[in-house]
Symmetry: C2
Subunit: 312 residues, 2 copies
């Protein structure tokens, strides 16, 4: 299984930390110290997960032919429409009939959940060229006045073309992939929530989310590495879920890896949910060298986690 191409989209409007200073007195230094976030993007009126889907699909079309895709998997926890999902919006735009089209909602981990579903369709021989779209419109459902989490969230999207067979030397090979739910932990169902009709995005137990993210991402990363018969020394970069720079640094410390090996965009985009890692992968795509290995690891509310090792 290979990642053949990736694209991303970020709304134009930049919201700096001073916005939250004005709203509720949080200083920019405090936000940066606690989260690493300097600014984030906010979708314009009329933008949503379905319009951002069209942006990333069009950008992907500039790189690759999407006319022969045979599976679409969308992912978001901040949906514009749960019936006409982002995946169906993409199918409508592409005009490809009678292929499996599904949408998943598995919090910030769902980039890897979506790719694992693709892996299943490939194993069934029900598909061989999959379009995966990840999009979040956090600002549709957040409370910006919330001093606990209002300043964390950003909007953005990405799209990936994933193929069963290698298409070119430049493809990134997916060498191992695992996902898991961690909802058995005591505060998993109350740590961070997104209730569309009852308060939107809230994070009553941010500390518990933090602690579990710091435990699960290193653990899952090591599992993904070991399944390839490799060790940490064989890994060039760690790309963790972009939730908080302190979490990312904690993951690197736990793994005993230097910060040069950390890929991070939370400083500029905030927490863009399940889109964050894919946006970073898209931004960095051309900078990777042949033979390099990247571990993408995610953790999300619910809780859920995953890790994927890719080789350039």
């Amino acid at each position: 299984m290979y990642i053949h191409a990736v694209s991303h989209y970020l709304p134009e409007q930049i919201v700096g930390n001073e916005h939250f200073t004005q709203l509720n007195g949080l200083s920019s230094d405090w936000i940066i110290e606690r989260t690493g976030i300097v600014e984030r993007r906010k979708a314009a009126p009329g933008e949503n997960t379905n319009t951002m889907t069209l942006e990333v699909v069009r950008k992907l079309q500039e790189k690759v032919d999407l006319s022969t895709i045979d599976l679409i998997v969308g992912a978001t926890y901040t949906p514009y429409d749960t019936i006409v999902s982002l995946a169906h919006e993409a199918q409508h735009y592409l005009g490809i009939p009678d292929i499996p089209v599904i949408s998943v909602s598995t919090a910030c981990s769902s980039l890897l959940n979506a790719i694992e579903l693709v892996e299943g369709y490939f194993a069934l021989n029900k598909a061989s060229r999959a379009l995966v779209i990840v999009a979040e419109h956090n600002t549709l459902y957040y409370n910006e006045q919330d001093t606990v989490s209002g300043h964390l969230w950003g909007d953005g999207a990405a799209a990936l073309l994933i193929t069963k067979e290698r298409q070119s030397d430049a493809d990134f090979a997916i060498k191992s992939l695992l996902t898991g739910g961690a909802a058995h932990t005591p505060k998993a169902t109350t740590g961070v929530m997104m209730k569309p009709a009852d308060g939107g995005v809230t994070m009553p137990h941010g500390r518990d989310v933090f602690i579990n993210a710091c435990q699960y991402m290193p653990k899952a990363s090591l599992q993904a590495i070991e399944r390839c018969g490799l060790t940490l020394a064989d890994v060039d970069y760690i790309l963790p879920h972009q939730a908080n720079l302190r979490i990312s640094r904690n993951v690197m410390n736990t793994l005993g890896l230097p910060e040069e090996k950390l890929i991070s965009n939370i400083q500029r985009y905030g927490n863009t949910g399940c889109a964050g890692c894919a946006i970073a992968l898209s931004e960095q795509w051309d900078t990777f060298q042949k033979g390099q290995r990247i571990v993408i690891t995610v953790f999300g509310g619910g809780y859920s986690y995953g890790a994927m090792l890719v080789e350039v």
Copy 2:
């Protein structure tokens, strides 16, 4: 792949057609003539897709041991929480760590989308005993004053234990399963929508939904039957998505099958979204005879469709 057990839950409150007569003048006869619906269930305050999930999981536990499940797939387009999904709620309740847990949102077709994801996990040898939960809380997002679709919706849930290997003689074998998106059709993205932050459930093009449902469900059913090397004569029952009794009868007419072979519960429960077919399967479970074959076929907004042939 086998369905080993199934359970269902319906909220206690019954809403008869007279409620809509009082609200907006629609007569019960008119509603019954147009939709077949006599009454539907409405979740109580405090009930939602996550609480209904716990109801069906507990009911399933009365029939089978769920302590060894290794995959949970939830499905809903009317979520209580898109981060703490119904699948994560189930994992939290069951207390089973480190298994894949995902949630899908693919409109009324997602019972079959969910089972196809299970099929993929089984093919990958990443799971062998899957809990599938389908739940809809339409009344959380509907506008009961809407004379086009307000009277259609009901709430309900179901859970299925699906296993890779046969567990008992009473298992229902899944002989073929297909799903597809039909979002390429002109009105697919505007026919029926569920925008949590922008109007909830609406159906501006009900006639287009009707027409496509009547085309896709027979077509998908025939494909599922042909893939087993069977013909319509080998099929004992058709269980279509419970959207409208006129659609169900139209499907039977198109297939040339008598109404005795139609399984229908829409009269009592309205359109319970992706839960409808599973609720009907659960209700009828003990009435099926060894060797009988049932085609479950679905159609949902977006659009999306599917068919599955099961053999008792």
